[in-house]
Point group: C2
Chain length 100, copies 2
């Protein structure tokens, strides 16, 4: 099972994935993605959903039209693990490919 | 443009779409859908997203694994319109077809 990252390891990992920050009051990381429209936002979500399902590691996310707020944490570990860092990095890649 | 429903019309419409209720503190309606797993939850979202895009009327929604919390309101009208009722009804149909 993936283990919780130490505060130092988490901070270092976050430094390498632009836009992701620690979520206030929770052991979690988050980012708000803003796209051009709903088509792009949901396209991003669909690609990310396929990756998440394959990883068996799922995001908490909220979508309002062109905006997608994502929070990542590993339930079983009670905090942020390398799975969250991996999914965050992949989401950044997908978002970059999605945005026109 | 779709017009805001009166309180009476909204209450009557909600009576015919199981599970949907008025959102506290907002002129909006909401429902939390619970599925078997992420596959079902995101399958539901995907079908609903296609309908929403075609209607050009989009939900606010939050997904955590097998749960999808939906809030509907018509931004331009500042409240609940027949578009929200129509989308709510369609979401119930899709959810029924999605759940195994």
């Amino acid at each position: 099972m993936a283990e919780r990252l130490t505060a130092d390891a988490r901070k270092q990992a976050l430094g390498a994935i632009p836009g992701w920050t620690e979520v206030q009051g929770r052991d979690a990381i988050g980012k708000t993605f803003v796209f051009k429209d709903f088509n792009e936002a949901f396209g991003f979500m669909t690609r990310a959903a396929l990756v998440a399902e394959k990883m068996d590691h799922h995001p908490e996310w909220r979508n309002v039209y062109k905006t997608v707020e994502v929070v990542l944490s590993t339930h079983d570990a009670g905090g942020v693990t390398k799975l969250d860092i991996e999914l965050a990095r992949t989401m950044n890649t997908i978002a970059k490919l999605t945005a026109t």
